[in-house]
Amino acid sequence: MSTLSQIFSEVVVLLSGPDPDLIEIVWLSLRVSLTATFLACLIGLPLGALLGIKNFPGKTLCTILVNTLMGMPPVVLGLIVYLMLSRSGPMGFLQLLYTPTAMIIAQFALVLPIVAALTRQQIEDSWREYGDTMSSLCVPLSGSVKTLLWDSRLSLLTTGMAGFSRAISEVGAVIIVGGNIDHLTRVMTTAIALETSKGDLPLALALGAVLLTIALAVNSLVFSLRARIT
């Protein structure tokens, strides 16, 4: 009981006082995850729509591959990105390791298959309904992709949210490529991992509650946007 009240008071302290360190961590978390999600949507939405509409040899294989990548463990993905960005890796010359950009790249790679796979399913279902009319109107492939993405925008908002939730809540990839460096690459999840390892469980749980509050706020924002569009 005392632990619960301790956590609760920690949360109140964290949320009420403008702690510059916490603001910095929250801001970096949002910057990294929102940028990664935005970039993943920019590529994943049209990619998923193409997979849903276009028939080509190897489509089934591509679909299975994209679906499988949704389950990629963040730690493994972080390791791959680490190897790519490390000094001896193929992209080592960019010197991005242990920077927020490296964290964006890792989260982008994590979110991209989620956005692409969910979009593919959504657009493939819509294509069954729209296909005849689009073909009859001789709408080119690019036009069909744009039309279906626009017409499915409400469902795709949820896809974007699924991607963002994955990005903001993962720790494995960002801790490997970011290194959890104070005032540089420390985000909410890596801060929670650090406090847990130090044994400061109330603070770790309070940070978790803050993370959930942020996720709740972003979801509420998207939900109200969705309601406005409807």
Binding site: D132, C138, T147, S152
Partner: protein
């Protein structure tokens, strides 16, 4: 773009003969009604004529051009039994095809008025009633400036009033020198609209003649049975 010539067309899917030995020539404008029992292949034939489906044998040509060529298909439009409305306003649905065909946006109201939907231009198309959606689908098809238009049972599941409104749009399209080819099960409707009738039975055309002749003295036994079954 007439004449439409269909020569020795067959369509086989998974060893099932859906269309067999189809030969047909349509030379005149006006309304051609395609009739036949369920599963006779009427809708499939319509899709083949429109170039949405490639026959496995034979050829379909519009004034010498292959039906499935994009340029040939752009001169046609099709209205389906269940109208597909884009997830936007009624006006935006018309605007969509005007943009596709490089036509000015200012024509939107003209086409909405032709469907008696000008007062609902800003309403989401999906919120319109079934009859209104079908009228909008027809206006959208006509906005493509087609030389031929296909209707696949456009009034199925509509009430008599909505059906008559759709029929007046079809007649109006025909009066604008658009070739109309339509599938219907409604014999009364076929009598009201048809200039000529194509009768399909088990994937084969058993009769093609003027509407007057078809409804008074059908030549094939299958057409006679079909008409008598419905008249009873």
């Amino acid at each position: 773009m007439l004449p439409l010539e269909i020569k020795d067309v067959a369509l086989t899917v998974n060893e099932t003969h859906i269309l067999r030995n189809i030969n047909l020539q349509l030379t005149d404008n006006g309304i051609t009604i395609v009739m036949g029992h369920n599963g006779a292949g009427k809708s499939i034939l319509l899709r083949c004529m429109h170039g949405l489906l490639e026959p496995t044998e034979g050829k379909i040509q519009w004034n010498g051009d292959t039906a499935s060529d994009v340029e040939t298909r752009k001169k046609q439009a099709m209205v389906f039994q269940k109208p597909l409305m884009l997830n936007r306003s009624a006006a935006a649905n018309i605007e969509y095809v005007l943009k596709l065909r490089d036509k000015p946006k200012s024509l939107v109201m003209k086409y909405l008025q032709s469907a008696n939907l000008d007062s609902k231009s800003n309403q989401p198309a999906k919120s319109l009633s079934g009859g209104e959606q079908q009228r909008l689908a027809i206006a959208r098809a006509i906005a493509c400036d087609p030389e031929a238009i296909f209707f696949d049972e456009p009034t199925a599941n509509l009430d008599p009033d909505a059906t008559l409104q759709i029929e007046s749009q079809i007649i109006s399209a025909s009066q604008q020198s658009i070739k109309v080819i339509m599938v219907t099960h409604d014999i009364a409707q076929a009598r009201r609209l048809a200039d000529d009738v194509v009768f399909l039975n088990k994937g084969t055309i058993t009769e093609h003649c003027s509407a007057d002749k078809f409804f008074t003295r059908p030549e094939s036994a299958e057409a006679g049975n079909y008409l008598s079954a419905y008249i009873k």
